[in-house]
């Protein structure tokens, strides 16, 4: 039977950026339901996974949270160049907690960040994550960065930035739209979209590992992610 043949083969192994945790599991389940291809996910920071792929990690497909890691890997021959695709475009948002907003009596926006009751602003480490870089660029363009720099704290990933906001350690922070929606399930807050007004949409790319033995399945998953239903699902969860 085809199911038996599938079972003998190793499942499709996806290395995914931890930022995809809110959306990817559902997509994977649907994919498996549709194609019968089992999928296994390893989560991690994009940078860590990029290093792993360079060192022959047994992954088939890499879903990065940005485009620079996949592109650099492809340039090194670790990913198939022709398989690089943008599967989603992220939206940079500024998230401010409700408790803070209540003290402001003002519309939420970047301008609020200079106020004294915002003691800490969380953003992803600009050296590791494009969302962090984009946030800094946005603040720079408004000439706010030199003053706000002292308030900045850095997380290694968007997920960590969300933890700072969730625990109240930081009162405002820069997230992706999708992360901010998850965050709002546990803390009350308000988010202001900054893409494309202050920052560009942030392309998230994927690529197939050159050494993978599951080329066909990986291709199928790429196709599925780019398909209409998956894209609709992503759109609904905060991607552009």
């Amino acid at each position: 039977s085809p199911a038996g043949a599938q079972a003998e083969k190793a499942p499709l192994h996806v290395a995914a950026a931890a930022d995809l945790m809110p959306v990817l599991p559902t997509l994977v389940r649907n994919f498996t339901k549709k194609t019968g291809i089992p999928v296994r996910i390893s989560w991690g920071a994009s940078g860590e996974e990029a290093q792993a792929i360079r060192h022959r990690a047994p992954y088939d497909l890499f879903l990065s949270a940005d485009r620079s890691f996949p592109e650099r890997l492809a340039a090194g021959g670790y990913l198939r160049k022709e398989s690089l695709r943008t599967y989603a475009k992220g939206i940079l948002v500024l998230w401010i907690s409700k408790a803070t907003l209540d003290r402001a009596h003002e519309q939420p926006g970047v301008g609020l960040l200079s106020r004294g009751f915002i003691r800490r602003i969380a953003l992803a480490n600009p050296r590791l994550a494009p969302y962090g870089l984009a946030a800094v660029a946005c603040l720079r363009s408004k000439k706010l960065w030199p003053a706000l720099r002292r308030k900045a704290v850095y997380g290694n990933s968007l997920a960590q930035v969300a933890q700072y906001l969730r625990t109240g350690a930081a009162q405002a922070g820069f997230l992706s739209e999708s992360q901010s929606r998850v965050l709002e399930r546990s803390v009350k807050g308000h988010s202001v979209s900054l893409s494309p007004s202050c920052a560009p949409y942030l392309s998230q790319e994927m690529g197939i590992v050159t050494r993978s033995g599951n080329q066909r399945e990986a291709r199928a998953f790429e196709d599925y992610l780019l398909g209409a239903s998956a894209q609709r699902y992503l759109m609904k969860h905060g991607y552009h």
């Binding site: 940078g47 290093q51 800490r120 969380a122 997380g155 290694n156 960590q160 625990t167 109240g168 350690a169």
Partner: protein
């Protein structure tokens, strides 16, 4: 950049190891000499911070330190600023994280003091605290040294907790270990090499110096054969 990360690391590690060495004395004393049956539980709790993944521990500490929580708000009032993302918060987190490494070797030293020696001090009329101060502690210097080294080295390499509680702020809470991680993952080969080398250099110099010192101390004490 590297200089400030180095000085944060040096300050954090020295302070953590030294404060922990002081704290380990009463804690290990309680674990080893108390007749209470709580000590087994106490010792296990001490070891628990070890088994939590650092990032998870860091998260829990972040929750506990948050100005919304009772301990966090008390500390914030005391310090004049909230604990998270400050050097003080980082120090406190490091203390909690590295505690078992400093306490266990000291406890082990305490256990190896012969009962005969403790008894002799009591016979001479020494009250418990004097026995502790004049007999137990001086006879446990090797354990204290081991505890200091483990606490120091462990703090230098600490990553998850430091990242979570400190917020990676340059010049304040960014340690060499965070910097090395950034450099490594951002695939700037040169930067990573520099900070890893600096980390290794700094650590090896201090460790070799310390081991030499300790060895000298041990040699002078162990020559008890007549």
């Amino acid at each position: 950049m590297i200089h400030s990360a180095l000085s944060v690391t040096v300050a954090l590690s020295f302070l953590t190891a030294t404060i922990l060495s002081v704290l380990s004395l009463p804690l290990a004393g309680w674990i080893v000499f108390s007749r209470s049956s709580w000590t087994t539980l106490g010792e296990s709790i001490l070891t628990l911070t070890l088994v939590l993944p650092p990032a998870v521990l860091g998260y829990l500490l972040l929750v506990a330190f948050s100005p919304d929580s009772l301990p966090g708000s008390l500390m914030a009032r005391l310090l004049g600023h909230p604990l998270p993302f400050s050097f003080a918060g980082l120090l406190l987190a490091s203390l909690i994280y590295s505690l078992p490494f400093a306490v266990q070797p000291v406890a082990q030293s305490f256990r190896q003091i012969p009962l005969r020696t403790l008894e002799m001090a009591r016979i001479l009329g020494a009250p418990p605290f004097t026995v502790f101060r004049k007999i137990v502690v001086p006879m446990s210097l090797p354990g204290l040294a081991t505890g200091w080294v483990l606490g120091f080295a462990h703090t230098v390499g600490e990553f998850g907790v430091v990242m979570m509680v400190g917020g990676n702020i340059p010049g304040e809470t960014r340690t060499l270990s965070l910097k090395a991680y950034d450099d490594l993952l951002s695939m700037k080969a040169h930067g990573a090499r520099d900070s890893v080398l600096l980390l290794l250099l700094f650590s090896s110099v201090s460790l070799v110096a310390l081991n030499l010192l300790r060895r000298k101390g041990v040699d002078s004490h162990a020559s008890d054969a007549p």
